[in-house]
Structure formats: C-alpha cells, structure tokens
C-alpha cells in the first residue's frame, strides 16, 4: 500500500481501482466456493451466482419494485432539498425564525422514523406515509448542514460586504450561499442515503397493511415464502441504489467544488 503517489494518482502501472475491485471479486469467489464445497442449500445461503440468476429471472417483478423505491426515494429527497434549503435560508435571515422552528426539526429528527411510521399509516395512505417517512429522515441533515454553512461565512468578508454597502440579498447570493455549498453537498450525501433508508424502513413498517410494492415489500414477501435468493436479490438492488446515490453526489461535489475547495484537493506527496 506504500506505492509512491503524486497528485493522488498512482505512478505505478496499476490504476487505483484495481486492488479494491480484485479484493471484491475474490470475496465473492470465496463465498461461492464456501457454498458449493459445503453444499449449503439455497434457502440457508444462496451463492452469488444464484443471486445473480435470480435478479435476471425475477427482473420483471424486481424492476417494478426498484422503480417504486427509486420514485419514493428521489421524491422524498427532492422535497427534503427544497424544504431544507428554503428553511435554512429563512433561518439565516432571521435569527428568531431559527430559534422558533429549529426545535421542531430536532424533534422530528430524534424521534426514530420506525416509531412514527405506524401513526402516519393511520392518517395517510401507504404510499404517502412512506414518502413522508423518507422525507423526515432526509430533511434534517440537509437543513442543519446548510444552516451551519450559511452561518460560517468569513467575518472579515461579511464586514467587507458591509463596507461596500451590500444589500442583504447580495450578501446571501454572493457570499453566504456559495460559502455554504460544501456544507450543503455534505448534507446531500448523508440525506441521499437516508432517504433510501427511510423509504425502506417505512415500507417494512407498512408491511402487508400497505399496498406498497417497493423493494422492501419484496423482501418481506419473499421472507414469508422462504424465497431466500429473492431476498438477497432485492437486497443487492437496494445496496446498488444506495451506492449509486452516494457516487452521484460525490461526483456532483467534485464538479462543483473541484476548483476551489480544499476537500477536493489531492495532496502532493
């Protein structure tokens, strides 16, 4: 692991990604070998190849569920971004708004979503309840990170803006919002993952009561039928979705901050 590095890029022949990919493949091969050599039945532990087969075979069913889960996750995330950003800006403009409303956000955050879900299912139809759950968990990190970012503007720069008679709006648009961007994107990375978790947890809570058809519902349903390979297949799709969301926001961060923020800077060796 002590290859000489320059600009974050390995100067050796092997690109950076080779080692982690090789180890991942080796782990899958080991799993496959353990299952085959010990003749473990698929209802106890399916082999990776069987899980792959199941994804292909059950694709018509699973893809529909994946679509439902994605729709809920991204709708919730979109609402969380819009709400979090809007509220954070309000908080930054008027301290009394922050003092009055931040406690509500905290209450929503510290109450486990799994405990709120049954209540929401009473009041709302299953789809909406799941959406609201996912929104609640994704909302807070975006809000609190953006609030922190908006408040972190360099004090000297704030004074400079005042010296030149900047309006509140100019200060927000030219100074506070750009400065809050790294914090906001950090919140987005957490919120994106949490939106998926919220959607899955809420759907599990909805269980058979809901008419949900998302991936979590498929896992529960396959569990009742002891269809373990399908449980794994749905799990793989959820993981891949989570990874994709994380990668998407990482790349977005890199594109937006690459030129100026230290988090995106590769250290010289």
């Amino acid at each position: 692991m002590s290859e000489p590095r320059a600009n974050g890029r390995a100067t050796n022949a092997l690109p950076d990604f080779v080692l982690p990919v090789a180890i991942f493949i080796a782990a899958l091969a080991g799993w496959e070998a353990v299952v085959r050599l010990n003749d473990i039945p698929p209802y106890l532990l399916p082999s990776p190849s069987l899980i792959g087969e199941t994804i292909v075979k059950d694709w018509p069913l699973l893809s529909g569920s994946l679509w439902v889960t994605l729709k809920i996750t991204f709708s919730a995330l979109f609402l969380a971004i819009a709400g979090g950003l809007f509220l954070a800006i309000l908080f930054a403009q008027w301290k009394w708004v922050e003092r009055s409303f931040f406690p509500f956000a905290v209450i929503l955050q510290v109450t486990p979503v799994i405990a709120i879900a049954p209540l929401l299912l009473v009041y709302l139809d299953a789809q909406t309840a799941v959406l609201v759950c996912a929104f609640i968990v994704a909302f807070f990190p975006i809000l609190s990170n953006t609030v922190l970012g908006l408040a972190s503007a360099d004090h000297n720069l704030v004074e400079l803006y005042e010296l030149y008679g900047a309006s509140r709006w100019q200060q927000l648009r030219l100074l506070r919002l750009p400065g809050a961007l790294p914090y906001f994107l950090g919140g987005l990375k957490i919120g994106g993952g949490l939106a998926l978790i919220g959607a899955i947890v809420a759907e599990i809570a909805a269980g058979s009561a809901g008419q949900g058809t998302g991936l979590a519902f498929r896992i529960a349903e396959a569990g009742y039928r002891l269809n373990i390979p399908r449980m794994f297949a749905a799990l793989v799709l959820i993981s891949v979705t989570g990874i994709a969301i994380f990668l998407f926001f990482s790349i977005l961060s890199h594109l937006l901050l690459g030129r100026w923020h230290d988090s995106q800077r590769s250290r010289e060796a």
Partner: protein, 256 residues
Amino acid sequence: MSVLATLRGISKTFANGTLAVDGLDLDIADGEFLTFLGPSGCGKSTALRMLAGLMPPTSGTIGWTGGARPQVGFVFQEPTLMPWASVFDNVWLPLRLRHIPRRDAARSIDEALDLVGLGAFAKVYPRELSGGMKMRVSIARALVTRPPLLLLDEPFAALDEITRFKLNDDLLALKTELGTTVGFVTHSVFESVYLSTRIAVFSPRPGRIVAGIDIPEPLPRNEEFRLSAVYADHCRIVSAALHKAMNAPQQQTVAQ
C-alpha cells in the same frame, strides 16, 4: 496640505467593558501615509476600523472634509478572498456590489490587477496563489474603486521578510502613483519608518496616541533608504518613543 479627516475625542468601549481606545485626537492630512504603531492589543486596529466605518466610536466625532466619509479601500490582516471566485471575480466584488456588470468593470479590474503585478493571474483561483500574491489580490480589490483613502490593518504581518519588503516597495509605488491617502497599522518599527510620512505611536491598552513623528524623506523610498543612516536615526527615535509608551504607568481598564 489640506485635512481629510478630523478625529476628536474618539473612544471605544467594547461590550465586555474593555476600553480599547481612549480620547483619540488626530488630523489626517490629504495624501499622507499615516501609520498607527503600537504593541499588540493597543487599539490601533480598532481605531482604523472606526475610521473605515466598520464600527462606530462609543464617543467622539470623526469629521470628513467632503462632508461624508469618502470611498474607503480596506485590507485585512488576512487576504480575505472568496475561495470560490477567480482572482478577477474577487477584484470585481466592490464594483459588483454597486451593480456594475462584469463587462463594464473589466477595464478597472485589469488595471487594478496590473497595478499589483498580477495582470496574468486573472483566471486563477486563490488557492493556487502564494500568501504574498493573495495579499496583492486583496490590495487590488481595495484599489479597484480608486478610493481616496486606503486603510490596511497589519496586511503583511503573516508574510516572510523578503515578500514583505517587496510588498512594502510596491505599496509605496502605488501610493505615489495614485496619490491615495493611506492609513496603515503595524507593530514593526522598521516597517513603519520605511513606509510612513507620519507615525502615530500608541500606548498599550487603553490605546492613546502618545507621540506623532514625521518622517519627511520623500516617497517612494528604496533599498538605499533602508540602509541609510537617516533611516537608522528615525528608527531609533520611533523605537524610543514606543519604549516610553510601553513603560509609561499603565492605567488599568475600568469602564463599568
């Protein structure tokens, strides 16, 4: 020379009760290079900030010859640049806040960057610059509006000596070229003598001006001046005044 600003009985007491500046009486002449010299925490920065209008004095008045405070350029101890904006856009800021579009401001910005020798770095981001270059950008930003009064609060304190000497020379050249009045804060006797036409020596807290020393040698100055006997004499006099200020019986801050 005509007077630009008249400070009478300026005092500043902070919210925690600290008396930072006490009874400042000072006339600032048009076109002079005036330095506030004193130990750390003597209220010289506070005085400069009140002059800039960044904080109001607790008592006393600041009168301006034009009636109102003229446009002021301010340079902080740190470069205080916006890391997300290019050098060009950072220098654009004062004009942008006055709703002057990028295109219309371009000439002023290029001129300001040329003045500090950074004409070729307009598109670069602050993090790609050295400490001295960042400070140059900060000075270019302060100059872009061509203010009649330029205020600098220990701008070169964090720089190495070689860079500081170079920036001292450049600042003097700029001052001579533009004819700007300069207010400068430092705790270095040598820097103050090299740069100033007049030095106001501050006593430790509460800040009072205990001596005003003229340095009549013509501007701009150069390395020859730095090595001259005249420079050494001035340094001795200023240093003695500073020592006297430091050793004067200190009045403890009581302002309840």
